[in-house]
Structure formats: C-alpha cells, structure tokens
Symmetry: C2
Subunit: 204 residues, 2 copies
C-alpha cells in the first residue's frame, strides 16, 4: 500500500519535478542525469521524487507520456475549431511544427537516447503512435463523411500519414534537416494529394 499523500507531494510538486527533469535531461543527456540533479533543480526532495517514480527510467517515460498528452490536447483543441478537411490538416501540421519546435532538445533526447532503453521504449512509442493514428483516422473518416475528401481507406491513409510524419520529424530532430518551415509546403501538398486533394480541389 502507498503511504498517505503528503500535501507537498501533490500534483504541483509532480509537475515541478517533471519540468525540472525535462530541463536537466535536455542539458545533460539521459545517461549523465542523476536523480539528485533532478531533485536539486526542482527544489524538491528525494522523498518527493520517489513518491512518484521508482527510477530515472520511469520519470523519463513519464515525460514522453506528458509530451504526448500535451501534443494530443493541443491537436484536439485546434482540430475542434478547424474547418473542413484541409483546415484540419493545416491545424494539425501547425501544432506538430510548433510543439516539436518548442521542445526540440527534449524530443531529441527522447528519440536518440531513449533508443538505449530498448523494448520498453519501443512499446511506449508504439502506444503513443497508436493514439495519433486513431486521431488521424477519425479526422479522415469525418472528412470522407462530410464529402470534403473522396472515399479512401482511412486506416491505411492514417498509417501512411503517421509513418511519413514520424519519419520526417525523427530525421529533422536527429539531423536538423529538412527544415520544417522550408519543407512544410511540400509535405502539405504531398499529404493532401495522397488523400485526393490538389490545389484545394477534390481530384479524380
């Protein structure tokens, strides 16, 4: 059984430790970060840390989940007010570029260094990807239903899009190229054509 949760170890402390961990991982890298560094940077205590996470690996995986939650929240928020299939794609691409751009150093560590965590990380990555494939599929299905794109297989199209975005984002984070601002119009045109939209019109 867990001990009663003391006031100082509530969700504010948890957030503060997570934020400190993000910044320490980003500056020192995964392997050189010690739990003590995170505790110190957060102005928290070892007890506070271990109340929430049993290890450095677990807080790291929590950070990835937190990032995925943040990306999903922003996506859903912007998708809710976007209009039509093209508007939704633009909203989604914008959120990805902004969010990965803002947290690029953290994303780099998550992607490059987490590879060393092996299967644990692969499993989590698959789980995160599945969430985003579902969001893309839902939105494509809605766009098919309201006639803004032609009938296509939304599952396969969602997998193609997820793979394409994943591949380009990974490459950009690891190598700095292609620059997302420069590549965005091409990526947008290719993805839109792939679901049957060229120059803002339905094709075929």
């Amino acid at each position: 059984m867990k001990p009663d949760k003391p006031e100082s170890e509530g969700s504010d402390t948890k957030t503060r430790i997570l934020e400190a961990a993000a910044s320490v991982f980003a500056s020192k890298g995964y392997h050189d970060t010690r739990i003590d560094d995170i505790v110190e940077a957060s102005g928290s205590s070892k007890g506070g840390f271990y109340f929430h996470w049993p290890s450095k690996e677990k807080i790291f995986l929590s950070l990835i989940d937190t990032f995925a939650d943040l990306l999903e929240d922003r996506l859903r928020e912007r998708l809710a007010v976007a209009r039509g299939g093209i508007g939704r794609l633009d909203a989604a691409l914008g959120v990805c570029v902004e969010t990965f751009g803002k947290y690029r150093s953290l994303a780099k560590i998550a992607i490059v260094q987490a590879a060393g965590l092996g299967l644990t990380f692969e499993t989590q990555r698959r789980r995160v990807e599945d969430r985003f494939v579902a969001i893309i599929r839902e939105n494509l299905a809605a766009a098919i239903a309201d006639g803004s794109i032609p009938p296509i297989d939304p599952e396969i199209a969602a997998l193609v899009w997820m793979g394409a975005l994943d591949g380009i984002v990974m490459r950009w984070i690891q190598t700095g190229s292609p620059d997302p601002q420069v590549a965005l119009p091409s990526i947008r045109a290719i993805l839109l054509r792939s679901i049957g939209i060229a120059d803002g019109r339905i094709i075929s």
Copy 2:
C-alpha cells in the same frame, strides 16, 4: 594484423555462417542465441566465426546489412526493367512485399529485438534508410524528368514514402496487421496520388 585467410574461412563459409545465424536468431531470438549455436548450426568452427565477427552483436548487424543489400539488389534489378513512373513503383512495392514476406521472422527479430541494441542499431537503421531514400529520390527525379509525374520536391516525397513504407512494414512485422496483400492496393493508390498520379493519369 589479421591472420592469413585459410581456405575454409573464405566467403562460402562466411555465407554459410550468416545463413545459419539468420535461422538460429529467427528460431531462438537474439538474446537466447549463443555463438556456439550458430557455429553448430553452420557446421563451422569457433575459429571460423571469430575470423569474421568479434561478437554476436556484430554478426547480427552484418545480417541486417546483408538483408539491406539483398533488398537493394532486387530493387535495382527490377527497377532497371520496369517502365515509367507507375511501373517502377509497382516493381518496388512488389519487391518489398516479397522480400519482407520471405524473411518476416528474421525481420521481426531485427526490428523488435535490435531495439535492445540501442544507438548502434539506430545508427545502422538510419544508414540503411538513407540508402533507400536515395533510391526512391533518384527514381522520382527520373520520373519527373521524363514527364511521367508532375514536378514535385523529390527529396521530401522520398522522405514521405520512406516514412510511410517504414511505418507500415514495422507495424505489419510487429503486429501482423495490416496484411500487405490486402492493404497493397490502398497503399499503392495513396502513394501514387501523393506524387500526382490518380487512375493512371497525371493530376492537376
């Protein structure tokens, strides 16, 4: 300095050991495979093994390179006789489905278990992907030059295709779904539309 290469440790032996390693890794998994198992299955000797590879990890990475070489050879062979942009895509998709289908258990081990090798594997994976991105880009550039597809950014399109194919192949190998035979027509239509071809005609 390496010792003189004895007759029995030439390229035939090397191929035999690689083939044995592929089959042992596929049946026992990466972690449970011992070098002794590979030596025994190949009817070779420990000396023969260590003449070519210093460790289990190195022969495993060699196998991935061998698989990439095989895929590239088959691709280039079929692309050389394929006609036009669409014919080349069909040839390429056919080679991928056949080759990954034939070596699925090995590919599964390479992808799922190699994650445990961490950065070494990530670096190799990036190198292998770069080779295939280059092949896709060359072929797209040729198709643009001969007018069989409209002018697009061949680099970005190649990254989109690589990411899409990588994502779908990884998912299929790890989960068994989507079935490539069933999904192929949708994937083909989506990829062709993405570069400006619908129903066999240039769009826009």
